[in-house]
Symmetry: C2
Subunit: 316 residues, 2 copies
């Protein structure tokens, strides 16, 4: 028997298995965070098929697009049309990123149920990304979140540069907790702690998560979002799981990064995450073969191979 | 400040830091395990420079070559000449792989101090690799190890296919512990638990290590050897460190794999390991820049880029 034919590792429990959650929600960011970094515009019908295939593969949350101004991210300029044509699968959530009140208005007109806002843990990145200071970002986000919540939408808050900033270097944990708490207090149901430049290591991850827990933030309100720039994404994820975090962001085939941070490479590949969850005996609901086939299909459209180790291994 | 200019992440301690060892010995396998998978023969002077650069970069153990029959592994057919011309750096160990008594004789003539033997945890792989059964391998290794120990050599035992076998599938933990214990009882000072096909996940790693500890094997007699076929190598390493394992095998630039197991891709890249150890505040003694420069230099000789995430990121 060739275990690769199974497409999955054997689940082997250990005493440490008691620490990890029984079930993890994979927050798929490929169609938004992944595609927004692709310079060649992906046609609308390919995006729609990508979204459909991700839902068929069992992903419970598929971040669909971003309602930014079309000139900011040309790849996602078709957001309204895309969301209008999207056939939403039962039981799947389709959040969209909104940058401001205008984006929220477009999202509400499109019938969106879930939105995400993109905040930063550092002054420099806030200035570069939003053209305003660390504190000023809350002034901008506050009416957006309140309006969305009043309309019955679920709101997620991304916190970028949590583990390091390419201009400022290390980021104080207190500052990260303060930013995260302000987003939660504002009405975000969950915050996603982003290692935008991929510099985190497991002890740092544990420190940040423990700081949020010490500040009274329940674990279900935390998600982790790792980039594999230095190969650390999956080790960091394991550290977060061991502390009870149960929402993990990942990108099908490892698509994507961050267009405003030059050093960023791909997000954690969903397939590599699924392999680890399967081995840990953690429920995730994803059909790995179907997902990997989807990533191979998308890689062909993009004209470059998937960086996911699992996708490459299964394709051999 | 750009943290990438430092070439290292900030070390951030967490309560979990108490679990990991204060110092880790990196057992560098690039010149042997890495190069033996390269089809193009690397010239002797390039190998000698590779070994010298690895020692200069601070690696405490550099597995140098294999005293196999020259026809088995043409890349390492220059073992005797290589070891003869090697200028050994003070404080660095230069183990060589020996397959049998004849290999040991050649190693002894060459003035080797450290050897390693390559055993398997599964019947099928033993038959394919050594052309004999699981139990018969001990009959072959026993006189080699005893002779080496009598000559004052240090002997390491590799155990391959610990976490899965491409023909047999899952491997019973009891069988792994039995094979490992027989190697230790025979006189091996340490055994290296090899995930030859890269299928392990962290809970499986913990289970195997705990089984050895339960059987009375001290942690310093265990090393881990992960392959990154499914992207799991560094997460698995973190799981092993958390249980107190303090010897980790890695290959500069991620060179290598296993020539007899078709599915194997590269070993854990030493640079990616160093990045994690640095972030965990674990002493390792390696100059990451010097090591990454060496991997870039070797990649140029081999005519293909290093698969290490850290090497790629630092080169940008």
């Amino acid at each position: 028997m060739d275990p690769r034919e199974l497409g999955l590792p054997s689940a082997v429990a250990s005493p440490e298995s008691d620490d990890v959650p029984a079930e993890v929600t994979i927050w798929e960011v490929g169609p938004r965070d992944g595609l927004q970094n692709e310079s060649g515009i992906v046609p609308l019908d390919v995006k729609l098929e990508f979204l459909e295939r991700l839902a068929v593969a069992g992903l419970p949350v598929v971040e669909t697009t971003s309602f930014v101004h079309p000139e900011w991210v040309p790849q996602l300029a078709d957001a309204v049309e895309l969301f209008g044509e999207l056939r939403r699968a039962d039981g799947v959530r389709y959040p969209v990123l909104v940058p401001n009140s205008r984006g929220l208005d477009r999202a509400l007109e499109s019938g969106v149920d879930d939105i995400a806002i993109f905040a930063s843990a550092t002054e420099t990145f806030t200035r570069r990304n939003l053209n305003r200071g660390l504190d000023e970002q809350f002034v901008m986000f506050d009416p957006v979140v309140r309006h969305a919540v009043a309309e019955g939408l679920n709101v997620r808050g991304y916190v970028s540069m949590v583990f390091g900033d390419p201009w400022e270097g290390p980021v104080a944990v207190d500052q990260v907790v303060s930013v995260g708490q302000r987003l939660l207090d504002m009405g975000c149901s969950q915050i996603s702690l982003g290692d935008t430049i991929g510099v985190a290591t497991p002890g740092h991850v544990e420190t940040v998560i423990r700081a949020f827990v010490a500040a009274g933030v329940p674990l279900h309100r935390l998600a982790v979002h790792f980039h594999d720039t230095y190969g650390q994404a999956l080790g960091n994820t394991y550290a977060a799981l061991r502390l009870g975090v149960s929402t993990v962001d990942a990108s099908a085939g490892g698509l994507g990064g961050c267009p405003y941070a030059g050093s960023a490479t791909g997000n954690l590949a969903t397939e590599d995450l699924v392999w680890m969850l399967e081995g840990l005996g953690i429920r995730h609901g994803v059909d790995l073969r179907s997902l990997a086939d989807t990533s191979v299909w998308m890689a062909e459209h993009l004209g470059k191979p998937s960086p996911s180790a699992v996708v490459k291994a299964l394709a051999r």
